[in-house]
């Protein structure tokens, strides 16, 4: 069975298992997930508090997902197709929970995050939507709205919210065309209430997202147009794969093409072939005569599946012309990832299978068909029963001859040495808001990923979740259009620029892992020796796996500081080495109070001497600074947009004799308004449900 080995956690690709909740919680809440993801991790917070290890929590991810998907689809079957036999409902719910797509989720490691949780809500939401629209009472209306609130935990990536909206739009259209919904004023009113209610209940994350999306859309349409077209082409899915619930572009990494049982090698072709069987059954079901209501459902869901085949195909014949236009439209371009739309195909396939079995019920060969389907469904989900989802079947191991996470070069199951964890003792003793980074530059397979073969990591650096201080990844774009990491290992440069750069960003601590490629350590050795000998870096702690260095005090810029100049720096090693020390001379640290990670209060006297105030956070135009007088009157400070190494504002002759300056992140402010709107709406929904429940009891 799938029990994860003790002492390990999941790190791989873009996935980093969330741990250390007591420390990370505030970042989750105020970070770019704008609160919605903190609802999901509220499930794991108590587990950690109870002492369940990260490896133990992995089983909870799997359990929550599979039990959730099963229950959700079972509820769908029982509420929409009441004539369906219980054993068929159980079998189909099991198919929905255990299929090639869900296997993909967990072998690709996405399952160990909140990203794919929408999958368990799709059947529940669809069932409640149909009930809420078709039935006259308010019970299902309120239940749908409550679920529409809970589903927001799935929107870590808001593109999933967009895909869900698109799904419901197409579902409504299909139901109208196939006469499942017979439109009249009441029906229209109910759909409008459901839509508006869902919008209000989700206001708490939609509002903070609006300014971020505006920025994101601009960036997409201006700078990455070519990449978008390329991405659409790369993630395009062949029809033969969509109907089998497989990703075309990476199928060699996933079961059954990546077959983990060498002793049963002959079974691989069988499983590849039988993956077509569920869709064949659906086509046979199309031919069978059906009752009028079942016929409408069959037509609507089949029509929807046909549309989703086209959408998931992206830029691929015969859908290329239409889809390249569609997916390059603003907002819709957010759906460029394969799984954003493919996530709905297992549900559509399962519903159509349900209708097939409903139709077969009582017929001559029904039992044989059910038995055969059970067997093939079991074969398709074999690794769920035999185990090895991450230890043998992880996509990271797919290129290895022997699929074993112990012997492979990289693995998504990673053991973090105690020495890394002990470093936190140094960080907690430092009350400043300084940051951490690493040396040498050891990029992983993509931006934001680090390669630490000694720890088998090719993914995000574990420091992101291990420590109370922020980690700056060198393999990322901290500065617009300059990946400084690429130049960190360059021995032809004067190494002093590295500490100038790190100091400018506010990096006080540098991790020096011994687990990077040995070649990198050899290459970087002279640079490190020079930096140490000149006193720019000082070793704080040393372990066999990692050393911790501290950047010289005179190089580190404070978190909040003032200056009489705010120059626009040129981003190159030579330019920084020349300009940063000059800038540093005029810098004065400012006292501040951190009200929350996205709100900083500075007393007025701190800025009275200098013209500019700086916040040493990554440049983001959504930070704003306000001068608030004692009377409550507030004046916005003018942003120095040419400063891209931090966030800077000019006080512009303001007297600043009394009051304070408050720096806030605009989305965090909107989060409060959103929480208020969603909170009120949730109270209304819960009160409505409570009233119905009370009435029933009486």
């Amino acid at each position: 069975m799938n029990i994860f080995p003790g002492g390990y956690m999941v790190i791989g690709g873009d996935v980093l298992q969330m741990i250390n909740f007591s420390e990370q919680w505030k970042h989750l809440h105020f970070g770019w997930f704008s609160g919605r993801v903190s609802l999901f991790y509220a499930l794991f917070f108590p587990l950690e508090a109870m002492g369940i290890s990260p490896a133990g929590q992995l089983s909870w991810y799997l359990g929550i997902f599979l039990v959730g998907a099963y229950s959700s689809f079972y509820f769908f079957c029982r509420s929409i197709f009441q004539k369906l036999e219980t054993r068929s409902a159980s079998l189909l719910a099991l198919f929905y929970a255990l299929n090639l797509y869900t296997l993909y989720i967990f072998t690709a490691t996405w399952g160990f995050t909140s990203f794919q949780i929408l999958y368990i809500f799709v059947p529940l939401l669809t069932a409640l939507y149909i009930k809420a629209v078709q039935e006259t009472g308010k019970k299902f209306l309120f239940l749908f709205l409550l679920t529409a609130f809970l589903v927001s935990i799935s929107f870590s990536n808001p593109a999933f919210a967009l895909s869900l909206a698109l799904y419901f739009l197409l579902l409504t259209l299909a139901f109208s065309l196939f006469r499942v919904f017979l439109w009249n004023y009441i029906l229209l009113k109910r759909v409008a209430i459901l839509f508006l209610g869902a919008l209000l209940l989700n206001a708490y994350w939609i509002l903070p997202l609006v300014p971020q999306v505006r920025g994101g859309v601009d960036e997409l349409s201006n700078s990455t147009e070519i990449n978008l077209a390329l991405r659409l082409e790369k993630t395009s899915n062949a029809i033969i794969d969509t109907i089998r619930l497989l990703p075309t572009s990476e199928q060699n990494r996933y079961y059954p093409v990546n077959f983990p049982y060498p002793s049963f090698g002959w079974l691989e072709d069988v499983v590849i072939g039988i993956a077509f069987a569920p869709f064949f059954l659906i086509l046979v079901g199309l031919f069978l005569r059906k009752a009028p209501s079942e016929r409408s459902f069959y037509g609507a869901f089949f029509g929807l599946f046909v549309i989703f085949i086209a959408l998931v195909a992206r830029v691929r014949f015969p859908f290329d012309t239409l889809n390249s236009f569609l997916f390059e439209l603003p907002v819709l371009n957010a759906l460029r990832g394969w799984e954003k739309l493919a996530l709905f195909t297992p549900f559509l396939l399962s519903v159509l299978l349900t209708l097939f079995f409903l139709n077969m019920q009582g017929k001559k060969h029904a039992k044989i068909v059910t038995l055969c389907f059970s067997f093939l469904a079991f074969l398709l989900a074999l690794p769920f029963f035999f185990g090895g989802i991450q230890t043998e079947l992880s996509y990271i191991l797919s290129g290895n001859k022997k699929k074993d996470f112990h012997t492979s070069e990289f693995s998504a199951l990673v053991k973090i040495p105690d020495s890394y964890i002990q470093l936190e003792n140094v960080f907690v003793s430092d009350p400043t808001a300084s940051k951490i980074s690493m040396l040498p530059y050891a990029p992983g397979s993509s931006v934001g990923r680090v390669s630490l073969p000694g720890l088998k990591i090719n993914g995000p650096h574990p420091a992101v979740v291990l420590y109370s201080k922020k980690y700056v990844e060198p393999n990322d774009y901290y500065f617009p259009k300059w990946d400084f990491g690429e130049e960190l290992n360059d021995r032809s440069l004067d190494p002093e620029w590295i500490v100038d750069l790190y100091g400018l960003i506010g990096i006080r601590y540098v991790l020096y892992p011994h687990d990077v490629k040995p070649k990198l350590l050899v290459e970087f050795e002279p640079i490190l020796t020079y930096l140490e000998s000149e006193g720019f870096l000082k070793k704080r702690v040393g372990f066999p796996e990692v050393d911790l260095y501290e950047v010289a005090e005179n190089k580190v810029f404070p978190y909040v500081y003032t200056s009489n100049t705010a120059p626009a720096l040129r981003f190159s090693p030579q330019a920084l080495q020349e300009q940063v020390p000059i800038l540093k001379k005029g810098v004065e640290e400012a006292r501040y109070t951190l009200l929350n990670p996205k709100k900083i209060e500075i007393p007025h006297d701190e800025i009275s001497k200098n013209q500019y105030i700086f916040l040493n956070e990554r440049y983001d135009s959504l930070w704003k600074a306000e001068y608030i007088r004692d009377t409550g009157e507030s004046i916005l400070l003018r942003r120095q947009d040419e400063v891209r190494y931090a966030n800077a504002w000019h006080k512009e002759g303001l007297p600043l004799s009394t009051g304070k300056i408050v720096i806030t992140y605009i989305p965090a402010d909107l989060l409060k308004i959103g929480i208020f709107i969603s909170g009120i709406s949730l109270i209304v929904v819960l009160a409505g449900l409570g009233r119905i429940y009370r009435k029933r009891r009486h």
Binding site: L177, F178, R179, A238, I239, I240, I243, D269, I272, G273, F276, F279, F280, L283, V284, L286, F287, R289, K290, R295, S296, G299, F302, G303, V306, I309, F317, P318
Partner: protein, 118 residues
């Protein structure tokens, strides 16, 4: 030479279906005009035929099944592109099935395309 079609099966077939035939000819010309491959033009003509004659949705499932049945075989033979090509042909028929099914349901017809008695 005087060739008479009177009473022939061909004449019976074409009698009263001039508009329908015109539609199919138009479909063929349309495909030629857009420089489609002959096979795709033929599928388009079948699609038009499925609407004008009409062909019941249940019947259209057969060619979809027929073409799709080749896909797993071709895939296991290592002919991935051919397998996808046959799946595309199958997909064309699935689209026809959906469109015909919408028409049948909105016209109150049965799955065989027969209009239900009032």
């Amino acid at each position: 030479m005087n060739i008479s079609f009177r009473g022939s099966a061909i004449k019976q077939f074409f009698q009263g279906k001039h508009a329908d035939i015109l539609c199919i000819v138009f479909a063929m010309l349309f495909g030629t005009f857009l420089d489609w491959e002959i096979l795709h033009t033929l599928f388009f003509a079948v699609f038009i035929a499925s609407l004008v004659w009409p062909i019941p949705s249940r019947v259209l499932v057969f060619p979809a099944l027929f073409f799709l049945a080749f896909s797993p075989i071709l895939l296991l033979m290592g002919r991935q592109e051919r397998a996808e090509e046959f799946a595309i042909y199958s997909y064309y028929f699935l689209v026809m099935v959906v469109i015909r099914a919408i028409i049948e349901i909105s016209n109150g017809e049965s799955e065989d395309g027969v209009k239900a008695k009032e």
